[in-house]
């Protein structure tokens, strides 16, 4: 004990370093979590492989399907994983501890955003490469590439806001169950299933979901079309979800 110089000398690290170190810590923990890897990579890779093997027989076209799977992966990272990890951070008192450090609450949220971005980029790259290896050949236009970039960023923001709303109010166990259920609903609601496959009466509602906006945008991108309307949908969702998260999030369980 005598080896420690315990004389007070507190000083915060520079802000950028705090944010990046927090992002790195969360990224390492996500990468180490088997359940999250299952959602982020194993299931999407399995779907791409399944399409490559049996897609033609089942009438599932490769070009839109791989784009849909990438959208599904981003959904799992932006919503499901973030909700579950944050709920358990509340449960385990991680947030309570971090409040009493130089890490400000905005630093923590920016660190989480950086983690989600890093994981999403890596995930999209891996899934796209797997798709290409399986014969996927998207034909994107420059205009839709710009739209897709905006929609991906805004949908990740919207998903993250929704994740924080759920994780910031519900217990860890409830969040775990609901986040997985909502993951499946999102997959069915516009991510894997195109809006055109729904009954005509349901299509206007389904089109307004952020999951649909992301799925349709990436499918349009892969197919060479242009559609900027989803940008408005995800922008509204992002603003509303983040505002709600800011209002309702609780730091302790």
């Amino acid at each position: 004990m005598s080896a420690l110089d315990l004389r007070p000398a507190p000083a915060p690290a520079p802000r950028l370093r705090r944010i990046l170190r927090h992002a790195r810590m969360e990224t390492v923990l996500v990468a180490r979590n088997g359940e999250q890897l299952l959602l982020a990579l194993v299931i999407p890779l399995g779907l791409i492989l399944g399409q490559a093997v049996a897609g033609e027989r089942l009438g599932i076209a490769r070009e839109p399907f791989v784009a849909s799977v990438i959208a599904l992966g981003l959904w799992s990272t932006g919503f499901t994983s973030l909700a579950i990890t944050t709920a358990f951070e509340r449960r385990y008192g991680v947030l309570e501890r971090l409040v009493a450090t130089p890490l400000r609450r905005t630093d923590l949220m920016l660190g989480k955003a950086a983690m989600v971005t890093a994981v999403a980029l890596a995930q999209a790259a891996v899934l796209a490469l797997a798709g290409v290896a399986a014969g996927w050949s998207p034909r994107p236009s420059i205009a839709q590439t710009a739209v897709a970039a905006g929609v991906v960023v805004l949908s990740l923001a919207a998903f993250s806001g929704l994740a924080l709303v759920l994780a910031g109010r519900a217990s860890a166990e409830l969040t775990l169950g609901l986040a997985n259920l909502v993951y499946l609903l999102g997959a069915a609601g516009g991510l894997l299933v195109p809006v055109a496959a729904f009954p005509a009466w349901a299509q206007p509602v389904i089109s307004l979901l952020p999951t649909t906006a992301l799925g349709e945008t990436l499918r349009t991108w892969a197919g060479g079309g242009v559609d900027a309307l989803p940008l408005i949908v995800v922008a509204v969702w992002a603003v509303a979800a983040l505002a709600l998260a800011r209002k309702v999030f609780r730091w302790t369980s």
């Binding site: 004990m1 005598s2 080896a3 420690l4 110089d5 315990l6 004389r7 007070p8 000398a9 507190p10 000083a11 915060p12 690290a13 520079p14 370093r17 705090r18 170190r21 927090h22 810590m25 390492v28 923990l29 180490r32 979590n33 358990f88 951070e89 385990y92 008192g93 991680v94 309570e96 501890r97 409040v99 009493a100 450090t101 130089p102 890490l103 400000r104 730091w251 302790t252």
Partner: protein, 235 residues
Amino acid sequence: MPAALSLTDVRLRLGGRAVLDGLGLVAAPAEVTAVLGPNGAGKTTMIRCCTGLLTPDSGRVEVLGAPPGSASANSRVGLMPQATGAWSGVRPRELLAYLASLHATPLPVADVVDALGIGPFAGTPYRRLSGGQQQLVNLAGAIIGRPELVFLDEPTAGLDPHARREVWTLVRALRDAGVAVLLTTHAMDEAEQLADHVVLIDAGRGVADGSVAELTAGGSLEQLFLELTRPGSAA
């Protein structure tokens, strides 16, 4: 010397119940202040008010001369939470390295690991540590930023007598180095051994305040505790 921590007539209701009901206390630099009270007396809530996690309905809290939860206050304090306080999959060495990285001039992680005997389990995921091992990691996390004020919420709960004595030695070393230590405990012997100043609280308000010698002039600290507090009074 100005107080490291002061609470004046702090009141907070949660769920319709008065959890803090006019609480006041002062903790000085280079002193150990022990806050004693039965379960539910408001000890952890008081610490949450000091870190800005909860905002009192009324009253005044000042942490190192700054408002609780401010950047100035929170970058100069250390907190050892009562339970868990870490990601389940994190390893102690990487948790401490992460916490150290938030500070400009932290204690060397290796030295803290050695001093607290964390080395043998420094690479074990936090969820696989025993309660006592988790406590030591939490304590290490509280001091790694070289704080001026540390909050230790029941720091020796679940520790064996050897580890308990080690923690006591560390608390004394912190005080001797000039750190203001505020610890909550149910252990009367711990308060008697460590505290320069004892605050006894019950149902969210102070019922006795003084040095150990002052409070034990008419009997033991435990006798005083039993006389002035009600079992599960605020639970």
